[in-house]
Symmetry: C2
Subunit: 388 residues, 2 copies
């Protein structure tokens, strides 16, 4: 934790922040080792202070930080800052996470300070994983093998999407998966049983992600498994997030209920070729935007660009994203990305072809950027599975 | 939907709002019938306008609103407001939900306007449920029978909390439960398998709620089921939220793995008496604060106030909360509540005794406030279950 705080402080000094208050549970877990309700005060140098909002006993057990305080809330923070000679300056807040009401309260309380958004610094730091995090991400990805086993054992014509979904959830939880998936975006949400879509549901693209979303059970949450029966010959796309020990995997495999047709095999071959092409391009120093361009160029070459990452107005311009304490972390592998790949980033790479009126094929793996290339994290074989 | 918009407009006029922009998915579902990424513009009278951010096809299918627009974002909203003659005034935003970054962007874009918090109006309206909502809440509560069946079938000495949890999750999903629980608070989160705690875990109170939380699998999410084995004679508290069709149930039952001791039975009798006393007090016109006082008075009378709703610094001052599209809706039944019970509120009423070093007993039911009293929503019997 000390190292992480020191690195944040270095980037705070470079960006001109005098102090920061960290309150979002994943950010707290990253810097303080606890996700309990706390406020973490980080000066631009020196020791951090952690104010407990609730459950001090858990906080003291979980956090390795030395200065754990139990009273005073924001007033206590302000007092501590004044004691350190800080009564004005630039105060960092994670403005993408903290709601407006709380921010306005802080603006009033910290009157002498200019509040600024510290999230870009936090998220940029979190892009590069340490050894422990890589281990956790590997174990999260490995949960995809549990899902795969459930599908091989249970997929047959007549089963419904939601029946499969229930079995997957149960098996994952028993295998130690958390049943909440964490998102950074305030209005995004992914269920622990992710997106599952078969047959005609594979080309319905709901608004919460530009991908094979499934249609869910209704308008209150129009993605994920539905009550649709899976029929003989249906394509089934299973795109699941995995939260294990707070870190996320994100793996997609495509199945056929029965024997695959030539056209299904051909579509999958193309998506696999795009995937391969992107993987070959993964190495430190490569621009994230270039990974997207590589994928798109492959799709054009294979004559499937009209269905690449969706179709029409629902075509997404991305080929993947970072993974960590949140399932939608930077960097996003998109044309506008300013980021360059670095060693120890962990990325989900997810090409898909979504053909309206026909079906979808998708392939997603989690990838560690190594010193000279990449390593695939554990996952089922990268092929189209025919389940009889 | 039209009715709901009209009622919001009436309260907007009373509170001096000229217009409001609704963006939070549950609020959108309530007023526009869709939870897709949209911005809903509501003037203080007249027709609302819904701007699609993504997935227009889903929005048009789901929403009953007439004016669905696909372009322009905030600029489009501003233009529409100007066309309606509104270039200054008071603009409502849900400031408890919208993050600071988005709020700051809106402050810039809507320069002529004073932004104000419209959440209290929205949430106060949402407290009173209509017939369809009450039906949905009833079906959500009914899912507690699925959980109860799983526990009766699987609880035995030697099983772990997380094994039980996995079976519950799988059964609930197959029965049509959503696997995401919705909270209003930005930093709150409840798993779809809720809080489960046995034996010595029952008196560990994690910071995310002042209740029997369980300890979870680690500091990244220190509540819910753990890997602890349930032993002969252990108390097991199972407090689950249920999301069905977007509406939430919240039901707790207490079990014993084997035969209950006299002391376990006695503790449960007390919690049941407190529950009974609160239920008797439920009727329109009663102050929410009074329900808390009634519960606390019963605990004092029964000589268990030291363990009522927790103990020491982890003693919560509440006896329940509203239920709806979010699991932590107003009104909260707490001493400081300014609300009075009204017909068609749906409340979770949840007394518990948490005795450090010994165990916990809890009982929670969902209750519809009727014209002259209350109706319990479907749930298992209100007793201590001995499972052999």
């Amino acid at each position: 934790m000390g190292d992480r705080i020191a690195r944040l402080q270095a980037s705070m000094r470079a960006a001109g922040f005098d102090a920061a208050i960290i309150m979002q549970p994943r950010d707290l877990f990253y810097y303080a080792g606890t996700a309990q309700p706390c406020n973490l005060l980080v000066f631009d140098r020196g020791e951090p202070y952690l104010w407990v909002r609730r459950a001090g006993e858990f906080v003291r057990r979980e956090s390795g930080l030395r200065n754990i305080l139990e009273d005073g809330g924001f007033a206590g923070i302000k007092r501590r800052m004044a004691e350190a000679g800080l009564t004005r300056g630039r105060l960092g807040v994670t403005e993408d996470a903290v709601p407006a009401a709380l921010y306005k309260k802080m603006t009033g309380l910290f009157g002498g300070f200019e509040l600024g958004n510290i999230s870009p610094l936090v998220l940029e730091q979190r892009m590069i994983k340490d050894e422990g995090e890589i281990g956790a991400l590997r174990e999260a990805a490995r949960l995809s093998l549990v899902t795969h086993r459930v599908i091989l054992d249970n997929l047959r014509p007549g089963v419904t999407e939601i029946e499969l979904s229930g079995r997957i959830l149960g098996a994952l939880r028993a295998a130690g998966a958390e049943s909440i998936i964490r998102n950074r975006r305030w209005d995004a949400s992914l269920a622990a049983d992710g997106a599952m879509a078969s047959g005609y549901n594979t080309w319905e693209i709901s608004g919460h992600a530009m991908t094979v979303t499934g249609v869910g059970l209704g308008g209150w949450q129009a993605h994920g498994a539905s009550r649709k029966t899976i029929n003989e010959g249906d394509l089934l796309v299973v795109d699941l997030p995995y939260n294990r020990a707070g870190y996320h995997g994100d793996i997609t495999r495509t199945y056929v209920a029965g024997r695959a047709t030539g056209k299904q095999k051909e579509a999958f071959r193309k998506v696999r070729q795009i995937h391969e092409r992107v993987l070959e391009a993964v190495s430190p120093g490569r621009a994230c935007a270039e990974l997207y361009r590589t994928a798109r160029a492959a799709a054009v070459e294979l004559g499937c660009e009209a269905w690449f990452q969706g179709y029409g107005s629902m075509q997404g311009q991305y080929i993947g994203h970072g993974l960590g304490l949140e399932c939608d972390e930077p960097p996003t592998l998109e044309p506008g990305s300013r980021f360059v790949l670095r060693e120890n980033m962990v990325l989900a790479i997810e090409p898909k072809l979504i053909i309206p009126g026909w079906g979808a094929v998708a392939l997603e793996d989690d990838v560690l950027v190594t010193g000279d290339g990449y390593e695939l994290l554990p996952a089922p074989e990268r092929r189209l599975f025919e389940v009889n």
